[in-house]
Symmetry: C2
Subunit: 353 residues, 2 copies
């Protein structure tokens, strides 16, 4: 341990500019009360010295607490998925809490648009400095972020996005490519030449924006290959197992020659359960997300691959993106695509969500 630390600070700037520290401070924070002449002089010196403020001292001296709000679906039995982003958000908060950042947690019900609207309103009442949200319901989100824009509150989308919006950043998967990869993996595992594939879409809500991208990517792979496989799709609008079993059963009776199934979201364990119950072990199965149920079927070999987009990291990075802009005023990427991770029996043990 040595006694280094010769960094220049406001004091040195003030000395060089023949002004007081307070004036330098005003310039740094673009506050009023400084003549253009002095302002320019000080800015020049700041430029020249490449002054970097000491965040420690800055946050320490600042009495302000930055309030962030987070609006994501509550994790239900049906979708444990959102536990992961929440973990990431919590981790981020515990890291930056000491820097005076506080995060208010708001949850909404995935099956209830009104709950989203209500929570969004609650956030706006709180006068927060930044928002991290999952724009699950497009219309409601647009309404919400209109208010954010008016009050210049930055907001970050995670997991899914709405294009052409003024969001500070989108942090989540590139869905098209994700579908593409799934197709590649299925193809790689299929023996023999001609095949029939089944896309299984299990979801209550009809998703007009996100889901189609996955399917487009999936189909695009085969187009690129000049390979015209038979691809059929079923939509299951009731997420309970009974419904999944029934619909799958029907579909597989109609197409007994299906070689591989691609489930477009995390409900792949339901499909796996069905396949296992029917002893259909030879069919390839790919789905989404590192969830306990899915992992079980991965271990037992019913699910061949899970595609993951690091949900925990999405939450973490989302918070950090807001932190970066609000505290350091540093810019963040407008689109930060998560890696498209392949989880399988051989590597699930070490996967970091």
């Amino acid at each position: 341990m040595k006694h280094d630390k010769e960094n220049i600070g406001v004091k040195e700037i003030a000395r060089r500019a023949n002004v007081s520290i307070a004036t330098v401070d005003r310039v740094i924070h673009n506050r009023t009360g400084v003549s253009d002449k002095t302002r320019n002089k000080i800015n020049a010196i700041i430029q020249e010295l490449d002054y970097q403020p000491n965040i420690l001292a800055s946050r320490l001296a600042s009495k302000k607490t930055i309030h962030l709000a987070m609006l994501i679906p509550s994790a239900s039995d049906e979708t444990q998925f959102w536990e992961a982003p929440l973990r990431g958000i919590r981790r981020a908060e515990s890291e930056i809490r000491q820097y005076g950042i506080h995060i208010d947690m708001y949850f909404f019900d995935l099956n209830d648009k009104e709950s989203f609207r209500k929570q969004a309103r609650a956030i706006l009442d709180q006068k927060v400095n930044g928002v991290l949200l999952s724009p699950t319901f497009v219309e409601e989100t647009v309404e919400f972020i209109k208010s954010c824009n008016q009050q210049s509150i930055p907001y970050v989308f995670i997991d899914s996005t709405i294009p052409q919006q003024n969001n500070l950043s989108y942090i989540g998967p590139h869905l098209f490519q994700s579908g593409y990869l799934s197709a590649q993996l299925l193809t790689y595992g299929l023996k023999g030449p001609s095949h029939k594939l089944l896309i299984v879409n299990i979801s209550k809500e009809v998703d007009n924006f996100n889901y189609p991208q996955i399917e487009a990517g999936f189909r695009s792979f085969f187009q690129d290959q000049g390979d015209s496989k038979a691809i059929i799709r079923i939509d299951i609008r009731q997420t309970g197992y009974a419904s999944v079993r029934e619909e799958l059963s029907k579909a597989l009776q109609q197409h007994p020659d299906v070689d591989a199934l691609f489930v477009t979201n995390s409900r792949v364990s339901s499909v796996a359960r069905f396949l296992a119950s029917q002893s259909l072990h030879d069919k390839l199965l790919i789905g989404y997300d590192y969830l306990p149920d899915n992992i079980e079927y991965l271990k037992s070999g019913t699910i061949d691959f899970l595609i993951c987009h690091k949900p925990e990291e999405q939450g973490y990075r989302g918070v950090m993106a807001l932190y970066q802009t609000l505290v350091f005023s540093s810019s963040v990427e407008k689109e930060y695509f998560m890696p498209i991770d392949i989880v399988t029996r051989g590597n699930y043990e070490f996967y970091r969500n």
Copy 2:
């Protein structure tokens, strides 16, 4: 932004204990000069209040700079691999520089044990507070860390490890499982029943510890499957392309029925180059590391999969592990295994090394 912040600090502790701030400070840092009675009283209050020191204020007030040293192979044309950990280390440094952490960078030549020894000595001369290193040369490393142990300098291994040592942490791959996964991927892609596999080990140094684990994992997969594939191995001790071409050519003449090749390190691009030159497009090829050359052959389809262990993150986490212990005195995991990432044509674009 509100005016929160009601956290208790040393001041409050001092008030409750009827002592001065300085005495509380002595207790917190286990310095001498405090009677057992006062020490106990203060410690009790600290416990009771669950006092968390304010890192900002702490680092700000401390005039000390923590000096870390890093000792990794220099990135050469032959192995660009080490650029990635270096990036991670640099990223970590830039994040914690303002907290008074400084990292001295030492590089050694992968083909020269003496350079390792020399640099190690240089580090010891500098009286550093912590070391991050790649224990490439076992004997030399053991010698080095003996001194570290004597001076109680914590050290972290990245990328590879030496078992049964007093290292603070190992951050890197679980090689056995990594080989296992490779086997799984190859099997998944092989059409038809019976196959012949070729393990290609290209390396100047004979590695007695790390490499065997990969091969053991690889073979273990087939044992688990009850699948006795023919597995042959060649060792290429000259890393230049000419040598690789010659040896591979020989091996494939002898075993023209090889279906798949597994290259046990990042030199897979040499093998890919050979296969491409011979138009052997139908053979599966798996190797290691997200390097530009490898990615090219991944794109062109010669390489089917690359296995990666997030080298950049290894560097980053290695630094952070030292930072955590030295600044926060918090414990870190003795073994932190990196995820075993699968990179392929469909997802390489979004891979984060």
